[in-house]
Structure formats: C-alpha cells, structure tokens
C-alpha cells in the first residue's frame, strides 16, 4: 500500500485544529449547565463524531479507533493491527477540561503496520499545534522544528532533569496499588543523591500536567527530560509517540525488564506502560541513542513496575 504520510499529516493537523475550536465553545456552554462532567462527555462525543466523519469522508478505507466509541464498548481489547488506523482522543486532559485548566488537547494519531506514523496534537487554549510524520520531522505550529533546544543529556542524569509524571486514577491504600508504586517511584526520583538506599535521583523538578499527550509534546520540545507513566491508553499516546520520535526522542516501556542487560524495547502502543526521554545531541563519547538508553536504565533503577493490564479477548 502507498500512503502519502505528508498528506495524511496535513489533513490531521487541519482536523485537530478545527476540533479544537469546538472545545473552546465549552467556556460559554458551561454557564448553562449544572453538571460539568455530563457536559464534557457530551462535548467529547460530539468532537469525536466530527473527527470520525471527516476521516471517513477523506479516507473511507482506513480504520478508526476513538476513545469515546472504544470506551462505550464492553471490551478494551487492543485493536490496532497492520492496516492504516486512526487512533483519536477528542479531549486529552478531561479533568483539566472540566475545571477549565488550559492543559487540554485534541490528539489525532495514525498507525500503519502497528506503528504510530503520523501525529497531530492541538492545544486550543495554548494556541499550539504539535505534529509529526515518519521521516518528516516534528513541528510546532507547522513552522518551528522540534526540539527547541538540543543539548546533551547530563552524565549524572536524572539529576538536573525535569521529570514529568501523573498520579492516575488508582488510589487504593495498599502497598501494591499503582498509587503506592507510583509514589515510591516519584519519591526515589526526587530524593537527594545517596538517599532511599541509593535510589535518590535528585531531579531538578517534578511536573504533573494532567495530559499524557501534552506531556509527550513537552518531551519533544525538550522541556521535559523524562516522562514516566502507566495506565493511559493508546489513544492518549498514539500521536505523541511519533512526535517525540521524530523530534529525536526515545519512547519505551515504564517497567524495568528482568535483566539489566536486556535491550531497550520499542514502545508498545497498547502496553499502557510508557517512558519517554527527550531528544539529545551526541557528544564526542556517546551517541544520542546511547545517552537516552543510559537515562532509561537510570530511571528503571529507581521505579517500581506498574500493574496495568488489559483484557485479552
């Protein structure tokens, strides 16, 4: 099959920006609605239907997976195969949207042969569009290449890094709940060097925005050095993954492998476990990829494996 990824990219950017305009109308809508959550579900479904319709008109032969239609089904089996497939989150950052915190976006991803190859993320309140297609680089607002600044990853990373993470929905007060696993990991990353039985990472700052898609965009710009997350779904990350990769970043799994010698695997879109490292220039002694893999392993030393899975059939 011949796919024109640039054409698909330009189309996706246009659709994301048009959908973003619909999200902005919420500001006026909310005044007339008592229940914000119901309202958001309504906007979410409406925007997904608009995006789905546009795609069906332009690319009737492509598959479509949307967060809303997917969630409405009884199963959450991973449904991305080799065929050209659109993977869409009409509002990423729903909690932010309910509360009118501007870190929200429309996220439109496109996969082929199981990989994310086109991504368009539009943040209407920030007036920013992040986008990429395989081989075409990553961009903000179509004109500025990502990353903004490209510098080496420090030899003592994660020290000095900005670490992005999200608290998630599993709030059980149990030693092995994902909340406990995440908190232990966050605290290891934050603590002074030498602390926490040698696991202290002394990161420069910890950020939580409430949007996986925008977390990935800020990894692509170079603002966030590390994003570590579990629990979100393929529609949350599909567009962001290719944007990070085309900017020169690395995306792999959140969970440490059994052996410290294991190779760093490519991200599994449906794995619900994600770790992204920002673009980095090579130094005389280390390639960009080697530096990123070094930071991946330093993160894996400091985090607990997360317990997210999905129905298999």
């Amino acid at each position: 099959m011949e796919l024109d990824l640039k054409e698909i990219h330009d189309f996706a950017v246009g659709v994301a920006e048009a959908a973003g305009k619909v999200l902005l109308t919420r500001s006026s809508l909310v005044k007339n609605k008592a229940n914000s959550v119901d309202l958001v579900t309504e906007v979410d479904e409406k925007v997904e239907a608009i995006i789905k319709k546009e795609i069906a008109l332009r690319y009737p032969e492509h598959n479509f997976l949307g967060e809303e239609t997917y969630s409405a089904g009884s199963l959450r089996v991973y449904a991305i195969g080799d065929e050209p497939t659109w993977c869409v989150d009409p509002i990423d950052g729903t909690v932010n949207y309910v509360h009118l915190f501007p870190m929200i976006c429309v996220s439109i991803g496109f996969t082929y042969q199981g990989k994310s190859v086109v991504g368009a993320i539009h943040a209407p309140y920030l007036n920013q569009t992040f986008s990429a297609y395989q081989g075409g680089g990553a961009w903000v607002n179509r004109t500025t290449r990502l990353p903004y600044q490209n510098h080496p990853l420090a030899a003592d990373a994660p020290r000095g890094c900005v670490f992005a993470c999200e608290w998630g929905k599993d709030r059980r007060d149990e030693p092995n709940s994902n909340l406990s696993r995440k908190v232990d990991s966050f605290v290891n990353m934050a603590t002074e060097i030498g602390g926490r039985n040698g696991m202290g990472g002394m990161v420069h700052g910890i950020r939580s925005l409430g949007s996986a898609a925008l977390d990935l965009c800020y990894v692509a710009t170079g603002a966030f050095d590390i994003w570590w997350e579990g629990g979100c779904w393929e529609w949350d990350v599909c567009a962001g993954v290719i944007i990070v990769q085309e900017a020169g970043g690395l995306v792999t799994t959140a969970n440490p492998p059994d052996s410290t010698e294991s190779p760093v695997p490519d991200v599994g879109l449906g794995s619900r476990l994600y770790l992204a490292i920002r673009p980095a220039v090579a130094t005389e002694s280390e390639s960009s990829r080697d530096a990123q893999e070094r930071v991946v392993r330093e993160v894996w030393k400091r985090v607990r494996a997360l317990d997210y899975s999905r129905p298999t059939e």
Copy 2:
C-alpha cells in the same frame, strides 16, 4: 497617604508585559550559551533591574524588594513594612525557564500597610496577564473578569477537587524533611476515601506546574480548587495573593493550627506557608467564606505541618 491603586495597577501591568518581552529573547540567547543556569541568572538580574528602574522613575518614594537583589544580600529578614513597597519576582518558575517549559511569568506585587494590594502577573509564553487591585476585581488580559466560572465548593471536598502542589528543593531522605512532610500530605490528599487512617481525600487530580505565581493565578481562575505550598518567598506570592483575593478566593497558612477551633488566619506574606482556596459562590445553606473555611479545615486535617522558617535578624 493617598494611593491611586488603579493607576498603580495599570502601571504594573504595563511593566510586567514589557519585562515579559525580554524573557522571550531567551529562546534565541540560549543557543549561544553553554550554561543555561548562568544565562538565566543573567536574564533574571537584567529584568529585575529594568523593572526596578521603571518603578524608581514613576514612584521614586516607594520601597522596592526584588528576588534577585534580596537573594544577593546575606540576610533574608522579612522587609515588608507599612510603607508602599513593590515586591517583584522577575522570573517565577526559574527551573521551567532553564528548560524552556512555558509555565513562567513576571510577578509584580505591591503592598501597603503590610498587605498585598496590587498584583500583575504576565506569562509571556502563554500570552496571558493576570492582574488585580484592592477593590477593583481580578482580571485576565485586562478584559475578562476572574474567576472564569463561579460554582459552589462541593460538600465532600477535597473529593473532586484539583489539588495543586510543588515538590520544592528540600530533598532530604529523613522522616521529618519537608520532602517527607509534603509527600505524606500529597498522598493523603490523593488516596481513596477511608484510606490512610481516614485521611484519604480522593482529589480529582494533582497538578505541579513549577510556578507558585501561576498556581495562584489558576486558583483565581477557578481551575485549581486548592493550592497548598511551603518554602517559597513573598516575591513568589505577593502579586498572586491579591489576584486570588480579588477573584473571591481565600489565602491562609499551609500549617494546621494547634486547635481545630482556631479561626482561619489571613495569609502572612512572609510566612513561607500558603494555602489558597478558589472563589466559590454561596449556596442557600452556606456563605462563600464558610465553604472556603470548611475546605481549609479539610485540607489541614490531611496535611503535615511544614518546617520552613526565616532568619529573624
């Protein structure tokens, strides 16, 4: 003394916006500098000098306190008295600025008789200016009144709330370090209802932006229901406090009082301990202030007292 607070406000907004333009030049500067931290210190000092000069020209009789000039001194004694005093942070969110994460701002506050009475916060990358003066309301970009939406605080708050907090610089691996006190508090706020010996607050989401001034602005807009923080200084909060208050929010201390019957005190600008609750409309059964005080007490039940102090002479 007669002070025209509207005039001071309009002047402060103009100065903040002009200073923000200087911050934007960093994007080009950074490419030519190896050491980002040195560069930022340079920009920080330069911008503070510009602001200080503008104020001295317009209001030569007013006092001036800036983060940079203050930090350069050997003492950090609280120096805000009854006289008209400007209290300025040229770059709030310095870590973000180093990493080019757009959550940064210029924060210009003005106090009289020891209280914050004018505030102007300009976020140049977001193209937003938040401002207020005593009796004049709180605004974004001069034209839109804050909060964006004004709804009641839920009867079961902090459940359902967006909780903003920052990890800070104290990263000691000790049970009574501020890191440990903060983490225990964050986890209490996050955990399911009934968990953590009844302290679970089940907040809707936790956000960390890395800018105290912008945290306060998002409390004023209504996006963040609760901001709880210790360790920052008067120049970080001086402008934000009046913006929250004029929007209808409440600002008090982070640390629980000895008795649960104690009144909710007004914020101490130099206390380094802050808790802000968003604007809320009254209901038939509860005034706005009563609802905010109820949420303050629910937060105090769930947080540990923080250990920040300052030199007394």
